[in-house]
Amino acid sequence: MKKLGKQTLQLDNKPSIINTAAIVGPKELNGPLAKYFDKCVEDEFWGEASWEKAESKFIKETVSTVLGKANVSSSDIDYVFAGDLLNQCISSSFGMRDTNIPFFGLFGACSTFVEGLCLGSVFIDSGACKNVLCATSSHFCSAEKQFRFPLELGNQRTPTSQWTVTGSGAAVLGKADQGPYITHITPGKIVDLGIKDANNMGAAMAPAALSTLCTHFEDTGRSPDYYDAIITGDLGHLGKDILIDLAKTKGYDIAPNYNDCGVLIFDKKTQDTHSGGSGCACIATVFSGYLYKMMKENNIKKLLLIATGALTNATTSQQGESIPGIAHAVAIEM
């Protein structure tokens, strides 16, 4: 393992993504990626009494699915890195409480999944661990309640708002002869350009994505065309366009091979999600369900995965604070 430039770590021992799993909710079931997910649940409560309980069930079931797919038992997992959007990361801790795996609770808002991949891959690369697990979850209903208004109020969503993905994605990392491998990680800095609108997260997070993107290229000496696909987490339709424009001003043309998970997961015409998907589960499910399979089938050989997060909460937005953004990147290659 060695440090490149300011922020990037090059992982020499090739931590492999052994397997992934994704379970999603009812809205995602009707989206264009539905067939790639391991399971689509039609009931947003998934038989539980509350949305919070349902979200914990999502992460719990996804973890048990990925362990089954990777053919490892929970006792073979050295550490789990998990996080979500609810206060004190309760979805993850309640979802993981019966697993008996040493637990790191992470909060990086919607960037948490890649934050977990960054940390997990370093643990594997160090040689000290055999397997680690990375998982995140989010739920539309619990997130609306946490960050905006309770659904019972029935108020309208604004045109720039994004739709929190209901679901969970999980990945098992380990040493294996088969790819895809995590070759580089570029953890991001906090970037805040003063956007205050909690219903316009894409615009708030795009500058953070730009910072991490440019730093990754500078540190590694790579250019956008090195990658078959550059995928951001949940900038949505608005944020995606902003990032393409911002990257152009820095001399990087990412438009040909760039897309965003918030754009991919829902159909803009038929699903009326306004600016697209968001949430911890957005990049987690799109990567674990769709992109991972694309890599396994060699349709994507080199992927730059950049998860974006808005480091805000309901109190700071009520107090008129701006929204600090963050973005973490991992380079995944076959």
Binding site: E44, F140, C141, F149, L151, R157, D197, N199, Q271
Partner: protein, 128 residues
Amino acid sequence: MDYFQSIDWMTMLNCFIVGGLICVIGQILIDKTKLTPARILVVYVTLGAILGGLGIYKYLIDFAGCGATVPLTGFGANLAKGAIEGVKEQGLLGAFIGGVKASAGGIAAAVFFGYIASLVAKPKIKKQ
């Protein structure tokens, strides 16, 4: 037939237009400004109270009936009207009592029916 003949169709049309316009303004505020629905709610109630207090809102009620009383501005106007009446009856103390007294029916009904609804209905994910 008597019932249909007794309907004042003109007031119904006015009611529809005025109530609709108040909602259209709210929709524009949601779509074009950064105001949250909660703030728009507060603005409407406050505006209704000011217009009611100045005696302007009652002309809108005369013109449009429920088109003016049912939206949130009507609640604000009712608060102001109650407060003014309260002052007339009880003096300064009435300014604090009158508004809520005049709206007591609406407030209690909202709590009561809200509770009933929570017993029989379950919140659901939005469709859009």
